[in-house]
Symmetry: C2
Subunit: 457 residues, 2 copies
């Protein structure tokens, strides 16, 4: 028994106003093509780029969007909708076009990560889910890429599941962090669903459930001789390390090898140096050190700056909720309706009108130099277009890249993003400008609205 | 077609180490009763209490926990588990006991919100999901209760769905904020699943899709004459307000009434005063003002302090991700195994041993005065026990309270929590002490571990 398709399970996972607006469009016979742009309005503190993710989820939703009889019965029970509209909803499917950045792409503020063009009711109904899906995974991939950068090639494992904001986030965090360079996750279901490498060690409870710490180490090393990682801080790091040394020698005598010891509390830089010294003295140079407990990009960087001898980091809660910036100011805005470019003027919230394209310029070594946001049909000589059509007439434009391909795309893009934009604190501002065509249209539409709505000349 | 039971869908939504530890317990024949305590180690900035939530979800999971054939096939594919253990997992069900605080209860740091006692494999397997479920809803209910406090009786609506961390969080935020005093949500599926009141207005896209703002207002007011809320900031608040006034008069002429105007940007206190003045001048005293856009408890308090004339607040992202404290330091720790109280000693992470009970003391008016954490079987004269048995032998102890009852329980508890603990900034520290029995046992266990593991006398 499998779960129902995403777009069927979650057709009602939307803001109620999407349905009241849809009813108005229906009554008015408004069915022309609307284009919505999904973009992020500003950088949270210390962010200078974003990593696009969540497209696959958004497309799965759009492909299968459908109101069930139970959904329609619920809407009817509100007493607000006419039978004719509910009957219409029954047949609604997403029949529009989507242009998007491939997952793993690097992008910048104000740049559309995705544009949807469809009959206005369909494009409007998709808003809530599509923002939710893209903004969560983009948030986490962006955060995870910072740990990836800070760790300077050391493997990273996602340990966040217990404190992610819900079950869906637990899965998406595992996926998005893998996309952004992590080696794998502790999340078994994410391993099963997305084909991710899964990793596990032992909890403090395992150790305290035994009469003595060393007994728990011995049992684990016998049951999992190929993958043993011993957690050594339950009572005292150095006492635990000595127990691990003893068990490592017992394993060696059986032809097995202890892989890792794990540190989970205290001054990780200092403790890791002391543990490394002990391991070397005991001829256990091959035993590696895994550190966990409150890690994010800042703590990884600090431990390495302090000379910490850590081979691998388990990164948990702070990455899994993007703790220092737990949301993006992500918007899905109407930019064109019935051939007419539109915008709102609300304070501090300007939207770039019309269907757009992002063009990227590179230096001689292929590194990112600057971007131009342009009208989609505008020629921008020398720039490489970034948005590609991924859905046409409600159908996928072609086979979708798998997650490993998206991860390779991220790694290739990230390698070409200059260091100044990756700085963990106060990164440089990447240059993004508007094309002449877009700047001109933007000005004309704003002027026309000032004239029409505000009576200005 | 319904979704599969929670515990079946999510048996693998766990950290891999739960399964490797389980395999060790299985090999060792360790099957004695283990008790785990779920508690929060410290207050994030500006928090002085927590609101318990998420129990219902945890119980639904425990009741239906079961590994499917597909789950077991996946585990087998890792090559790490013996057939005998996988065969054992097939039959695993949760057969233990759970004591918990009712949802909506107020509790404090170090106090167990829930204790699980079960054969160690079952209690261990439940860890990841149970922490995830309880910590998310507790996080959000706590955050939402602060807006509820700041709004001083004005109705609050959850508008967070588009930027919650995933779909599950979207549903749980709607539920937990309703539990903590919100009137309802924009989230339609949450309305359907949990029976919450749902609310919706219109988006800027609705307005910009029309040739003129006033046309969009007219259409909406005709299609939804009983529930019209007009969003007035798309181009200019006061121009929008004048259009709303005109449409309100047209509605009045038809015997209908404009319910709300919505402000969504700019200086809400100043704009709301100006809009109110206009509405009064036009004889539209009954039209109320709804404010949205970046609200949380701090912005609500500021707008009201500044004399803002807001009747109702829509609270979105910052509540929906608990932006200023997006996670709790929530732990599920082994406190007893096979009759032996246990603890770990890791730096800064002390656990209270054994099965426990929280006793609360009240003043003459029934307000909370102080709590004592005690051993579960210990007599604490004058204190009211807070944890109740909710599951025994894997079965629910009795009928579960519905969400409305939990909300009433929250309202009653919150009314009895003195103001000093509710302060939005730097609340007072609520007094919680340990009973003589618990303090004594805690000391003895720590001493015994120091002696046994660290060789101290």
């Amino acid at each position: 028994m499998t779960d129902r398709p995403l777009g069927e399970r979650f057709a009602l996972l939307t803001d109620f106003y999407q349905l009241t607006m849809a009813a108005c469009y229906f009554e008015q016979g408004m069915a022309e093509e609307a284009t919505f742009s999904l973009f992020i309005r500003k950088y949270p503190a210390h962010r200078g780029y974003f990593v696009a993710a969540g497209l696959e989820e958004a497309l799965r939703y759009l492909k299968t969007l459908r109101f069930t009889e139970a959904d329609l019965a619920y809407l009817e029970s509100t007493g607000l909708f006419k039978a004719k509209f509910l009957d219409y909803l029954k047949g609604v499917r997403f029949t529009g076009d989507v242009w998007a950045l491939p997952e793993g792409s690097i992008f910048f503020k104000d740049e559309p990560v995705l544009e949807v063009s469809a009959p206005i009711i369909e494009a409007q109904l998709a808003e809530t889910f599509v923002i939710n899906a893209v903004s969560l995974q983009t948030l986490i991939a962006t955060k995870a890429s910072r740990s990836f950068y800070a760790a300077q090639g050391r493997p990273l494992i996602d340990f966040s599941l217990r404190r992610t904001q819900g079950t869906d986030a637990g899965l998406k965090v595992a996926r998005a962090s893998y996309l952004a360079g992590f080696l794998g996750t502790s999340n078994v279901l994410a391993g099963k669903i997305y084909g991710l490498p899964i990793f596990g060690t032992m909890a403090h409870s395992f150790i305290t459930s035994f009469e003595q710490e060393i007994d728990s180490f011995r049992v684990f090393s016998r049951v999992f001789p190929q993958t043993t990682t011993l957690l050594i801080d339950t009572y005292d790091n150095m006492v635990g390390a000595k127990h691990a040394v003893q068990v490592a020698k017992e394993m060696a005598a059986r032809g097995d090898r202890l892989r890792f010891v794990r540190l989970d509390s205290g001054d990780i830089a200092a403790i890791s140096k002391e543990v490394r010294r002990l391991l070397r003295e005991e001829g256990l140079d091959q035993v590696r050190i895994l550190a966990s407990g409150g890690f994010d990009e800042f703590k990884i960087a600090q431990v390495l700056t302090d000379g910490g001898e850590v081979d691998s980091f388990a990164v948990g809660t702070k990455m899994g909720v993007s703790a220092d910036a737990p949301y993006f100011d992500c918007a899905y805005k109407l930019v064109k309706y019935g051939g007419r470019p539109v915008m709102k003027l609300s304070t501090g919230k300007v939207t770039l009108v019309d269907k757009k394209q992002i063009y990227r310029f590179y230096d001689e070594e292929g590194n990112f130099r600057r971007d131009t946001i342009a009208l989609r049909e505008e020629a921008v000589p020398g720039g490489a277009p970034q948005l590609t059509p991924v859905m046409q007439g409600g159908r996928l434009s072609g086979p979708r890249p798998d997650l490993k391909a998206c991860r390779r795309h991220f790694l290739s893009e990230f390698a070409r993003l200059p260091e100044v934009y990756k700085a963990l604190k106060e990164p440089a501002l990447y240059p993004v400008d508007l094309s002449p065509g877009l700047a001109d249209l933007q000005g004309r539409v704003a002027q026309e609205i000032h004239h029409r709505e505000l009576g200005e000349s």
